[in-house]
Structures are given as C-alpha cells and as structure tokens.
C-alpha cells in the first residue's frame, strides 16, 4: 500500500494550460498518473493530450469523478482555485503554488477542515508513490518502489535523500513534500500517522529544518505512538538566528525553532537522527530495512 495516492487516484489538474501546469501534467501523464480532467476558465470544451478541459471544477467533477486535484494556479488566484476544489468535495488537493498570502491560507484550510478535504502544501513538490502514481513535480528518477515512507518540508532535500536511499537499494512507499511553510495544510505528524497506519511502510524518514515547532510536534506524536522506526535529518544546524533561509518558515526566532532543540526532542522520542544524507540508508539498514 501507499498513502494519499495509489493506482485508483483520478486526478484533476487546475491550470493545465499554463506553462508550468502543462509541462508537469505531461510528465505526470507519461509517468502513468491517471489524469481525468483539466480546468482552465475559458478553455472548457478543448482538451490536453486527450484529457477533457472544463471551465469549472464542479462540472469537471460531475463528469469525470476525480478523487484528487493538483493546483498549478498562480498565488493571486490560488485561494479561489482551492476553494473551488474544496466545494466540489474532492478529498485531496496538492497546492504547489508558492507565495499564497497567509490570510488566504487560513481561509482555505478552515474551509478544507469543514468539508473534509486534505490539503498538501502550499509551496510543495507534491506526492509520489514510486512506480504507481505521481501527483506533483518530484523528479521520478530519484525514487524507486520500496518500504520506507518519506516526508519532507523541502522539495530539493527530498530529491537528495530519495536519490541516496535509492542508490543504496532502499525504496519508498510514498514521498510527501509538505512545503516550506510557515502555514501547512498537512503537518509532519499527520503524514507520519498515515505512514504508521500503512501496512507496507516499515519505517519513516522525516526531513525537517529550522524554524517553527512542527518537528517538536512530530517528536511528541512519535513518542506517544512508537509504532514504527523513524529516521530524521534536520537541516539548518548552522543557520543564524533571525535569517530567513530560503523557505518562508525557515527562520529561527529567539529560542524557538533551532535545529539543536529539534534534534534533542527527536532523539528523546527514540528517533534515529542523521547529520548527512548517506547516514540515512545506513541507519535504515541497522533497523533491518533492506528494500
């Protein structure tokens, strides 16, 4: 099994005719993802690589029954696009958009909670279940099918670690990029909980960074539910206080959000902590993970 997406995932793409949307939709399609509809207001009735395009999500949902959506719409229009998906009761939305205003995110997430849509993102590379389904922009060559769940704030870091694991012969059930924050639709602890519930996933790798207290939350969750082994790496150990390290959420404010504090909390929760990517497959092998 995988989490969030599998062979039954039917995908609606918002912004399918935009430059990024079209480019990524084609790659997802070639990977084998089942794209059932595209939405671009004003282009309804046309198609993309044979996939019907609709003017609005409701009509697309009624005619093609998607159970997941991915949004490639620019930040200015992301709130509207996300609300439209939520209102159509599509249970999963990957919000790749970077730079969504915080107030918009609060409204999107509040409405999603109300209607039961799971949001992954914003500012995320999305989700990939290697060999089965790709809902996002993860470069597929970095991954292979296996037994380890991978969750990361940073896209590039998930590619980096995915690659090192794959080269060492350890594959992934699902890789989830949750985004650079500072507001997240899905948090690390929630994704870890899903991996713990997934029969095929034998261990979880969590990639975190400085800023905020989400990794501390994850540590608390793992401590209270020590169901599967977890390996973690926290980057930004040498980040100075007060500097924004590329991600909106990666900023140490006072004593809050240091890498050291997170590493200590994770260790106290029984998590194996790596300082460089190559240690991750080594630690996984020690736990008995071989594929």
């Amino acid at each position: 099994m995988t989490i969030l997406i599998d062979q039954n995932t039917r995908v609606l793409v918002q912004g399918i005719t935009g430059s990024v949307g079209a480019f990524q939709a084609k790659i997802m399609l070639d990977y084998g993802t089942n794209l059932v509809a595209g939405v671009t207001p004003g282009k309804g009735g046309t198609n993309f690589e044979g996939i019907p395009i609709f003017n609005d999500v409701e009509k697309a949902a009624a005619e093609t029954a998607p159970n997941a959506a991915i949004c490639f719409v620019p930040a200015k229009f992301a709130r509207d696009a996300a609300l439209e998906v939520i209102q159509a009761a599509i249970p999963l939305l990957v919000l790749t958009t970077e730079g969504v205003p915080e107030k918009d995110m609060l409204e999107i997430l509040a409405y999603a909670r109300l209607k039961g849509t799971c949001i992954v993102g914003p500012d995320t590379p999305g989700i990939i279940s290697p060999g089965i389904c790709k809902l996002g922009v993860h470069p597929a060559m970095m991954y292979q099918r296996g037994t380890v769940g991978l969750v990361s704030k940073s896209g590039a870091l998930s590619y980096e670690v995915g690659r090192v694991m794959t080269e060492a012969g350890i594959g992934q059930t699902t890789v989830v990029g949750i985004g650079g924050g500072p507001i997240w639709g899905s948090r690390q602890a929630e994704i870890i909980e899903m991996f713990f519930a997934d029969k095929e996933t034998q261990a979880v790798v969590m990639l975190g960074e400085v800023g905020g207290r989400m990794e501390l939350e994850a540590a608390e969750f793992i401590k209270a539910n020590p169901e599967k082994p977890v390996v973690a790496m926290i980057v930004g150990r040498s980040a100075p206080e007060g500097a924004q390290m590329g991600h909106a959420g990666a900023i140490i404010e006072g004593h809050e959000g240091t890498a050291q504090g997170k590493i200590e909390a994770l260790k106290a929760a029984g998590v194996h902590v790596a300082t460089k990517p190559k240690e991750i497959p080594e630690l996984l092998r020690k736990i008995g993970i071989n594929a």
Partner: protein, 379 residues
C-alpha cells in the same frame, strides 16, 4: 513588511483606534507650540527602543530641540534614526497588552490579551501564563460579539469602550493582510483607552492586493530599509534571489532551500566557514545562476565558491552554462567546486570540464574539496 510606529498609528486612526495626539517632526521648528510635556520617539523598525534610549520625555522646547538632534544622531541596533514622532505625554492609570496575529500552528487569527501590559509579553507568558488570554478566531466566521465580551471581561474593561478597538484590529487584519498587530501598551488614561505604541506587520505575499499602500509605506521608510544591506544584499533584493550574508569566506550557491541548508551544515561540519547562504529555487535558469555568482563576487572576502545542485527541477546543462558564463567574464575571480547531479547532469558536467571547472556527484566530497580550496586560498 514591518511598519514604523507613526505609519501604524495612522492606520489605527483611520480605523478608530484612539491614539495620543502627535506630529511627525521634520525640523526643530516643528517642536514649537506643542503641548508639553512630550514624548519624543525615534522611528525605527528595530524593537527595544525604550531600552536603547530612543524614547525620551521632554518638558519644554529647549530640551526637545536638543533631544531631537541627539535622537537623529543615534543608532538603534545599527539602524539609523531618520524620523522622530512627538507625542503628547499621557497620564497612565493602567497598561494592557492586546495583539492580533496569524497563528501558524492553528492556522487561524489569534487574539492575545493581558492586563499586564507595557512589558515583554513573552516574559509574562513564561512567568504568569494565567495572566494571558489567547483567543482563536474562526477564519470563516470572523470576529463575534461573544468573543469580544470574553476578552473585555478578562481584561476588566468596559465592553463599550473595548469593542471598537478589538473590531478595528480584526478589520485591519482583513483589509490589509496584517500578520501581526500589536498594541503594547494599550493604556487606560483619564480620557479613556489609548494605543500608546503600535506594531504592525503586513504580509509581503499579499502585496499584489495593496500595491499602492506598500509603495507609499516604503517611501516613508526607504532609508531604514536599505542602509543595513551590504552591496550583495541590495543586488539580491533587486534580482529577487535569496541571499543571507554569513561571516566566513566560502561562497555558497544552491538550487533549493533544504539542500542549501544541508550544504551549509556540511561546510561547517568539515571545518569550513560559509560566507553566505544563497538559494536559487527549483526553477532557476542559466541567467539566475550567473547572477548569483555575480552577487557573491561583490564580497571581496570570497575567493572560493561551492555550487551545490541536486537537479530536480533545474536543468544541469542550464546551470553549467550560467557558471561558464560567469567564469568567462571573470576568469580568475573564484576557485569553484561544483556538486552536480540529476537532470542533464552529464551534459552539464561535460560543459564544465571543457572550461576546466571540476565537478563531482558526491555532495560530501565536493564540500570537502571546496573547504580545502578555501583553506588554501586563505594561506
């Protein structure tokens, strides 16, 4: 975007939050004919003005004139003072704390209130958490009357006087995409409640909705913003490249925030000292790569550069082209170590090799090589 106190108070005024009468002082002449005693307050973005001596009470024009000159000559944590606000001094009966902020953990607007105002709210929170009330607002419903009553009762303030202030904070959050609005202290005086200080931060990501306001606010604080930036930072701001100056001598460019932070950690683990953190983002092209090296070249201390590329979304042939373009323009400026893998890495590395630029696929090994090169350059 953080506002200066006088800018925040102007918005407060427009939304009916009572503030003391004040004038923004442009010259000594502005200080004559005002109702003394006055409080002269340096307008800087840095916090901790009181402790830094940047807020002074003056009893007459003579004292005001010399204090005004002193304030203009001072620096608050490296930030120069370019404007002074003269405010009528108030007789305070009690000080309260009131703020509205975007709470990241609960993803909701959050009011924080305390009857122990005037001091650092973090300290109150640590020492006497029972003296603080936090109230989460539903983003879809907005602020409700029962929520206002709850805070008014907690603070022991008359609802009639308190309600318009709390409503105004929520209005400012909604109207301008504020991520933090803080009144500390909110003072009870003989003539009613007054916001004696004002802190306001707007969401830069929402700039597209408030272009005029942002532009106007920036005009009022241009000098405050740019004077602390070094030449690399100023250019980075213009080119919209993430750049954080650090103290070392080894330049760093990466194609992702997470991998950039990882490379930085590995540099420090190997005994090196990074000169900066610089990140292009996942969709960078050759031009951005070249520009980032131009930024680093403005720092004379940097003789060696580590380029850390994972090649997920960026194309390595593009990145190599950017590096080569820089090296052709400035042949002897840097020694460069390049970690390159992923999309079109073979093509990229072949192009680098043509120009004698060494590269490798292993991050840890390339970091070690960069640190070694930097060490040799320092000797």
């Amino acid at each position: 975007m953080r506002l200066l106190e006088y800018q925040a108070k102007e918005l407060f005024r427009q939304h009916g939050i009572p503030v003391p009468p004040s004038v923004l002082v442009h010259s000594e002449a502005d200080l004559s004919g005002l109702p003394y005693p006055l409080v002269l307050k340096a307008q800087v973005l840095t916090g901790g003005r009181g402790k830094a001596g940047a807020i002074k009470v003056v009893d007459d024009f003579t004292a005001a004139a010399s204090t005004y000159q002193n304030l203009l000559g001072m620096k608050v944590k490296n930030e120069g003072v370019h404007a002074v606000l003269a405010e009528q001094k108030q007789g305070v009966l009690q000080e309260y704390y009131l703020s509205l902020l975007i709470d990241k953990a609960s993803a909701a607007p959050l009011f924080v209130a305390s009857a122990s105002g005037g001091m650092d709210i973090e300290e109150v929170s640590r020492g006497n958490p029972e003296k603080i009330l936090k109230l989460t607002i539903d983003p879809l419903l907005g602020l409700q009357s029962f929520e206002i009553r709850k805070l008014a009762f907690f603070l022991g303030l008359p609802e009639k006087e308190f309600a318009p202030i709390m409503r105004a904070l929520f209005e400012i959050y909604q109207a301008y995409d504020a991520t933090l609005i803080e009144i500390n202290p909110l003072a009870r005086t003989e003539s009613g409640l007054l916001a004696l200080d004002a802190k306001l931060v707007l969401d830069d990501k929402a700039r597209f909705r408030h272009e005029d306001l942002f532009t106007q606010l920036e005009l009022g604080q241009n000098q405050n913003n740019d004077e602390n930036l070094d030449p690399s930072q100023q250019l980075a701001k213009k080119w919209e490249i993430t750049y954080v100056p650090l103290r070392g001598d080894l330049g760093l460019v990466s194609d992702g925030a997470g991998t950039g932070m990882l490379t930085l950690d590995l540099i420090e683990d190997s005994g090196g000292f990074a000169a900066n953190f610089c990140e292009l983002g996942g969709l960078a092209n050759a031009d951005r790569m070249q520009k980032s090296l131009e930024l680093l070249a403005l720092n004379a201390r940097v003789k060696t550069v580590m380029v850390s590329l994972i090649g997920g979304l960026t194309r390595m042939d593009d990145m190599a082209e950017g590096i080569v373009a820089f090296v052709r323009k400035h042949p002897d400026r840097f020694k460069v170590a390049v970690r390159m893998c992923g999309t079109k890495a073979e093509e990229g590395r072949a192009l680098l090799a043509e120009y004698g630029i060494e590269s490798g696929e292993d991050l840890v090994m390339e970091v070690a090589r960069a640190v070694q090169l930097a060490r040799e350059a320092a000797e």
